[in-house]
């Protein structure tokens, strides 16, 4: 029979607009979070990280916000460019060594020129 694939959440934005990608995490004990960007055929690429003792961290054109109360992360990309088109994953650390990282399903961002 026909197989049905899982559909990633998608976000389309106009070039130059700001993008906001959201992520809900599961483990209230997680204390370190990372956003990754993954382009087709490539491995994930580190974008920005944040520790649980912070609620905001800024990088170059990117900002991560952490709301521990509702276990929510967001990634804001300013002045989105076509090269930002990719799948974005949030990851939380877990496990006995704190070195297991649990990744979310991901959000597919498409930037419209």
């Amino acid at each position: 029979g026909e197989s049905v694939g899982l559909h990633l959440p998608t976000l389309s934005v106009q070039e130059g607009d700001n993008s906001i990608i959201n992520c809900a995490y599961s483990n209230s004990a997680s204390d370190y979070f990372i956003w990754y960007k993954q382009e087709s055929g490539k491995g994930p690429q580190f974008i920005i990280d944040i520790r649980s003792n912070m609620d905001k961290r800024q990088g170059q054109r990117v900002t991560v916000l952490l709301n521990k109360t509702v276990k929510h992360l967001s990634l804001q990309i300013a002045a989105t460019q076509p090269g930002d088109s990719a799948v974005y994953f949030c990851a939380e650390n877990s496990g006995p060594t704190g070195n297991q990282f649990y990744f979310g399903t991901g959000t597919s961002l498409t930037v419209i020129p």
Binding site: D31, P44, R51, F103
Partner: protein, 115 residues
Amino acid sequence: GAGVSQTPSNKVTEKGKYVELRCDPISGHTALYWYRQSLGQGPEFLIYFQGTGAADDSGLPNDRFFAVRPEGSVSTLKIQRTERGDSAVYLCASSSTGTEGDTQYFGPGTRLTVL
């Protein structure tokens, strides 16, 4: 410098066969990680090496999966009696020390297809 490399880039095998997937981490990185990524999903943790030893192998799905890193550099992920459900992209990452906040650098992955 060179990033994380993985070979082969693609591997097609038949159900029941044995496969080995290789990861060359960034030179000098003591920590090495294996992940599995199915279509439309995020990477799933399999195992973490600190040096030559597996510090956390709790993500390996069953005893058909095994990984080694005998000299603390190159690692091989071994899958016995492959099943169709093993089809996925297998990603390797390395980091300098493995401590929190230490960026993990990913390789391009090996796409495994089990027929």
